[in-house]
């Protein structure tokens, strides 16, 4: 009994002095390092503000409320005129950047996947075409590609008075693509409700079809039915509501077209340049991912009787995605940041509008660059967060 007690008593750690306790030491050094970092950061900020004040340069974020006084060439989402504030100009530039980034990412992913799979094709011609595409697009600097697309898109197109005309409603000229704009009137809510109902119906349909296939082995044409629902239900809603939609057509007034939807050549050439450039990198990533999947998987799929098409779609790519997604995230971030080259061809993204015009008119370089950096950081973090969530979903679940 006494022996057990003494063993238990010795099992407790002996009391030591504070400076010998490893945890106390760790805490102490962490506090010192943190204090040092805060000191360095604080000194830099203090120094910057002192120098700005000494030279009489304005500082602070109050300028965001000032009237802008300048125009922005393209603002599809927000109404903007010279009487709005710098903050509104910032928002317009921001939305334009996000527009280019989203469209660019979609096109680049699609084209990149196609090129990556083509590179691995058994058809010698297709594989070589993909190889040439990848090598050429990867090795030429992006800024040059943007100029080539811009002047390549601009030069062959005619002026507005001689536009290429499709059925008097779609016009193409060197000021952009002009299409009719739908105007939504009162009953449009029914169509939106029908669209949402169609999406919910499709989700349940997919679940039901998979369950039926697991139980009875019968496949159901899910894809065709979904398309039918997506188109059919909103049309029924439109009929019920009496087609509450009218179109605003573009008209040539004087120098240019006005009204309707406008897609400027800057947006088109920037998106094309960014997509084709990034697609080359994505193609190589896809090729790496597919090559990383064990060849035994392909052989087993063939042995079971799957054709090459479904093998790629159902067996190889889902496994390859685990290797593809992390570098793919980097390419998406690259594309978003490369969109800042829009300044070279006058597309009004955030760098041109805010970091160019507003910076020149107010002179507050430090605050403006900080805001732009913060924006890019926020967008990049949002993209990586989403991709990491998707990556986790795709991860191998070990039993």
């Amino acid at each position: 009994m006494a022996a057990e007690n003494s063993v238990i008593a010795e099992a407790e750690p002996p009391k030591v002095a504070l400076w010998n306790d490893p945890q106390a030491r760790a805490l102490f050094y962490q506090v010192i390092v943190l204090g040092g970092l805060l000191f360095v950061g604080g000194t830099i900020i203090n120094n910057t503000m002192d120098n700005l004040a000494r030279q009489g340069i304005a500082s602070g974020f109050g300028f965001l409320d000032t009237t802008a006084g300048f125009a922005i060439g393209y603002s599809p989402f927000l109404e903007y005129s010279e009487e709005n504030t710098y903050f509104r100009a910032l928002t317009v530039g921001l939305l334009n950047t996000i527009l280019v980034a989203v469209i660019g990412i979609l096109f680049a992913t699609a084209l990149g996947f196609i090129m990556g799979v083509a590179r691995l094709s058994n058809n010698w011609m297709i594989a070589k075409i993909a190889l040439v595409y990848i090598e050429v697009m990867r090795n030429i600097p992006l800024l040059l590609q943007i100029f080539v697309w811009y002047f390549g898109v601009l030069r062959p197109l005619p002026g507005p008075r001689q536009s290429i005309n499709f059925a008097d409603s779609l016009f193409v000229n060197n000021r952009g693509l002009f299409a009719p704009k739908p105007i939504f009137e009162d009953g449009f809510g029914i169509i939106i409700a029908a669209f949402i109902a169609a999406i919910i119906a499709i989700v349940y349909l997919v679940k039901w079809a998979h369950k039926r296939q697991d139980e009875t082995g019968q496949a159901f044409p899910v894809f065709a039915t979904s398309i039918g629902l997506l188109i059919g239900l909103p049309i029924i809603g439109a009929v019920v509501a009496g087609f509450p939609m009218s179109w605003e057509f573009s008209e040539l007034k004087g120098f240019n077209f006005s009204g309707g939807m406008e897609i400027p050549p800057e947006l088109v050439s920037l998106t094309l340049a960014l997509s084709t450039y990034t697609a080359a990198f994505i193609a190589e990533i896809v090729r790496a991912g597919i090559s990383a999947v064990n060849k035994g998987q392909t052989e087993a799929a063939y042995a079971v009787g799957l054709r090459p098409g479904p093998t790629l779609r159902l067996v190889i790519i889902p496994q390859a995605l685990r290797v593809i997604i992390p570098p793919l995230t980097s390419q998406y971030l690259n594309l978003t940041k490369n969109s800042s080259l829009a300044a070279a061809i006058a597309y009004p993204d955030i760098v041109l509008v805010f970091g160019g015009t507003v910076l020149m008119q107010t002179g507050q370089a430090v605050e403006i660059i900080a805001i732009i950096m913060g924006f890019y950081l926020f967008v990049s973090l949002a993209i990586s967060m989403f991709m990491n969530w998707y990556n986790d979903k795709m991860a191998l679940v070990e039993r």
Binding site: R25, Y29, I32, V33, G36, L37, F39, V40, T43, I44, N46, N47, D50, N51, L52, R54, Q55, G56, I57, A58, G69, F70, A71, I72, G73, E82, F151, L154, R155, G159, N174, R175, K253, G254, F255, N256, S258, P265, E266, A343, A344, I345, A346, P348, L352, G356, T357, L359, M360, Q361, T362, G363, Q364, A365
Partner: protein, 344 residues
């Protein structure tokens, strides 16, 4: 123990280094920096014929360039002690604010916001200009009020952008703006037909017109829609440097008024009885002392660079490609508005 000591030492070193780097941005007045270096870093444009343009051997020439050379002649006695930094309209003020260049001589308009919020000082006006429009003759436009709905190309971040918006708004017209960073890109887009109108200062319109494929197909509309006093710029914080730049420009204008040019300056120095001429050439009095310069500061400017009229004729006169009339940029007693304060 060794690891923690090295970590501690690293943080302490970083903190110490950061405090030593935290010296003020200019370690003394701007003039000290220039005299220490031995040359002036002059910010110029990226190529505006007549104002600041590299010639085929890479030497910079032009009216703005000669203003910088005049300051170098005054300060160092040698007009060649200048190095040039080509800057776009976006970078020009940040380069001056950060001290990367010592003075900016780049067709820059003097405005209230730039004089105050941007922390700059304008050392006078070297060229009185105004904003105009250039269109293709084939459009059949006779004046600027017919430009409703047109696409307009111009430079980013300039007074041109603001004046353009003001003019169209004041006249109830709309336009579609296409704004580029570099002047060459604007010209390329205008030439390719991307926009109907090219707008900038009249002097730059004349200069950039030489870069178009077919200059004869284009015309400049008669309207001048703004005042653009263009002049050299320095940063806040050094009054002596500001005075030197200001009075170097004034010497060039005053010399023309007194009839001194680079050809007759030597003979006038020996023979002139006019007290104004004698003071300007350093024979009598010592204006340089108050600026911290030698006695022959103004003599050097006139001898090595020339007076304002000579410089204007050399770069913008009837024998050049730009061919601008003197117009407002003539002396006050010859029909223009150049009026230098007395150099005494």
């Amino acid at each position: 123990m060794k690891k923690t000591v090295t970590a501690f030492a690293a943080v302490a070193a970083a903190a110490l280094v950061s405090t030593s780097l935290v010296a003020p941005a200019t370690a003394g007045p701007a003039l000290d920096k220039v005299t220490g270096k031995g040359f002036i870093q002059c910010g110029v444009s990226q190529g505006v014929p007549g104002f600041s343009n590299p010639d085929t051997s890479g030497n910079w020439t032009g009216l703005d360039v000669d203003v910088c050379r005049a300051v170098a002649a005054a300060l160092f006695g040698d007009a060649s002690k200048v190095k040039y930094t080509p800057l776009s309209s976006k970078e020009r003020f940040t380069a001056l604010q950060s001290g990367e260049i010592d003075m900016l001589s780049r067709n820059t308009t003097w405005t209230l916001v730039r004089d105050t919020a941007l922390g700059l000082n304008f050392a006078g006006v070297a060229y009185y200009d105004g904003q105009g429009f250039m269109v293709r003759k084939s459009l059949g436009v006779k004046n600027a009020l017919e430009l409703d709905g047109a696409s307009v190309c111009t430079n980013l971040g300039t007074t041109t952008e603001l004046n353009l918006s003001d003019y169209f708004r004041a006249n109830g017209m709309k336009f579609k703006g296409v704004f580029f960073e570099k002047a060459d890109e604007v010209i390329a887009a205008y030439d390719a037909g991307r926009c109907d109108v090219y707008t900038t200062d009249q002097s730059a319109l004349a200069a950039q017109r030489t870069k178009l494929k077919n200059p004869k197909e284009h015309m400049v509309l008669p309207e001048i829609i703004s005042k653009e006093p263009l002049g050299p710029v320095v940063g806040h914080g050094d009054d002596q440097w500001f005075d030197i730049v200001k009075w170097s420009l004034n010497v060039m204008i005053e010399a023309e008024e007194l009839g001194i040019n680079s050809g007759n300056v030597d003979s006038l120095k020996g023979s002139s009885k006019n007290p104004g001429v004698r003071r300007m050439l350093g024979v009598e009095g010592d204006t340089g002392k108050n600026l911290g310069l030698g006695k022959s500061w103004s003599y050097n400017i006139i001898k090595q660079v020339g007076n304002y009229g000579e410089v204007f004729n050399k770069h913008l006169g009837p024998d050049t490609v730009v061919k601008l009339p003197r117009g407002l940029n003539n002396l006050w007693n010859k029909g223009g508005i150049l009026y230098a304060p007395p150099v005494r």
